[in-house]
């Protein structure tokens, strides 16, 4: 659809004009991942045990970092209200923005994961499952992050509260995702949790943007 493409490409263009900001979540991820071995004793076996969990938590935390850019920037310069007033379905606009955000924030993050997984002695055989689980979790995570951004767009300083709202809701992703990777590390089939992640993704993508659009409309008033 024309409107989707217009909003999507505009958001991508704006994001890349400030490409240095795109690096922040990636750097944050690397720092968090580095802190864990510092805090725990980095024996090979122990790293492998905690590695999957650490990577998932780090990904979740890092995804929160960039979320202000999703709606707040547009709210501050007035483009968001114009978007809502334009003859474009708000839900379509939300889909476009959220997809662009995922592409620009989460996908690079996921690219970092295999490298970090290696440092945690996670066997290479388990990597495809790890990445697949993360990719399947991405739509749900994107919607949750978008919801957090939308709920706080009306606040002057939304930063600290968003984590409170979004993180508890991500716990199923954490549970299923880490389980999938653990199974794969033990050589067992990981289909069940992966299917559950996919089911969550379908649910999130179909219903989430409606809630996000509603929250944005209220926040902008």
């Amino acid at each position: 659809m024309g409107a989707f493409n217009a909003v999507f490409s505009r958001d991508l263009r704006v994001a890349f004009r400030r490409w240095s900001e795109l690096a922040h979540p990636l750097i944050f991820f690397s720092i968090v991942v580095t802190l864990f071995p510092l805090a725990l004793s980095p024996t090979a076996a122990q790293l492998r045990e905690v590695g999957v969990g650490v990577l998932w938590v780090a990904t979740l935390l890092s995804s929160l970092l960039a979320l202000d850019g999703l709606f707040r920037g547009d709210a501050e310069d007035g483009t968001l209200e114009q978007l809502l007033l334009s003859p474009v379905s708000t839900t379509v606009a939300v889909y476009a923005k959220v997809t662009a955000h995922a592409l620009v924030t989460l996908v690079p993050l996921i690219c970092l994961v295999p490298l970090s997984a290696y440092t945690f002695n996670i066997p290479a055989a388990a990597l495809p499952t790890l990445v697949l689980a993360l990719l399947l979790a991405t739509p749900t995570l994107t919607v949750l992050v978008g919801l957090g951004a939308a709920l706080t767009v009306g606040l002057r300083r939304g930063g600290s509260i968003v984590g409170l709202l979004v993180l508890p809701l991500t716990s199923p992703l954490l549970i299923f995702g880490t389980r999938a990777t653990d199974l794969s590390m033990n050589g067992e089939p990981a289909a069940a949790p992966l299917f559950l992640l996919a089911a969550l993704a379908v649910l999130a993508v179909s219903l989430g943007p409606l809630a996000i659009a509603a929250a944005v409309k209220v926040g902008i008033e």
Binding site: G154, L155, G158, I161, L164, L167, L169, V218
Partner: protein
């Protein structure tokens, strides 16, 4: 969708306030009486559990607090949804009143769970127990709701934004519950209640149910009282409130 006419009475603050005044003595009286009966029966007269001994007596308190916590969230979500769709300020007031009560009950559930845990596992906190994890997440959902509400200056905006959060939360609760149970089934950790709950004889079942009823009535009593306070705060200087205050000692 239009609401039936009789429902519109519930949109009138003075009407609801007075209704609460009439209901509260019953709720409070009956709830209090049941609490007393159930507590004494359960804690003093019911037989001890053959597995856990005296410590299992917490079953007359702990599951009830957890159940009320969940019910509070559902009440909050339903009221929020009604308020959002039909623009009923009173519905939002109900949601706001239910939230802190739910949070406290959930906290009590965690607390009583810890008290139960000590004699059962030897420790107050066990990360492996699915119910603790679930209650903790539920508590976070409540806290998030309360924090978001406080963050807005404009009460009307706060009402509607938190309504969206509450509805999303209520959809998530079964998902989170399922995922935590699923997670637990893999890790085979000991739980407070064995599969299907401890075999409850009638001796234990009756006080258990009495406490469930007691807690439920008490919850609604608390809810109505908070709702009255919330109504007064929202209506501020309205004439009916001034009349009420002038009426007599309150």
């Amino acid at each position: 969708m239009k609401l039936p006419r009789w429902f519109h009475q519930f949109g009138s603050p003075p009407y609801v306030y007075r209704l609460a005044d009439r209901l509260c003595p019953w709720l409070g009286g009956l709830g209090g009486a049941l609490l007393a009966v159930g507590a004494v029966w359960g804690l003093a007269f019911a037989p001890p559990d053959y597995q856990q001994g005296e410590s299992a007596r917490i079953i007359y308190i702990h599951p009830q607090t957890a159940y009320i916590g969940m019910m509070a969230y559902v009440v909050m979500a339903v009221a929020s949804a009604i308020g959002y769709v039909w623009r009923l300020k009173l519905a939002h007031a109900v949601a706001v009143s239910a939230a802190p009560i739910g949070a406290w009950f959930t906290f009590c559930a965690l607390f009583t769970g810890a008290v139960w845990g000590r004699p059962t596992w030897g420790t107050y906190w066990q990360w492996g127990d699915p119910r603790i994890m679930f209650e903790a997440l539920l508590l976070f959902l409540f806290l998030g709701y309360l924090a978001l509400r406080e963050a807005f200056d404009d009460r009307d905006k706060a009402d509607r934004v938190t309504a969206i959060l509450a509805v999303v939360g209520v959809v998530n609760i079964p998902i989170v519950h399922y995922s935590v149970e699923w997670w637990n089934s893999l890790h085979q950790t000991s739980t407070l209640l064995a599969e299907g709950g401890p075999a409850m004889t009638t001796d234990m079942l009756i006080p258990f149910l009495i406490m469930v009823a007691a807690f439920t009535l008490t919850f609604y009593w608390l809810l109505l009282r908070r709702l009255q306070a919330e109504i007064v705060e929202r209506e501020g200087d309205a004439r009916w409130i001034r009349e009420l205050v002038g009426e007599g000692a309150r």
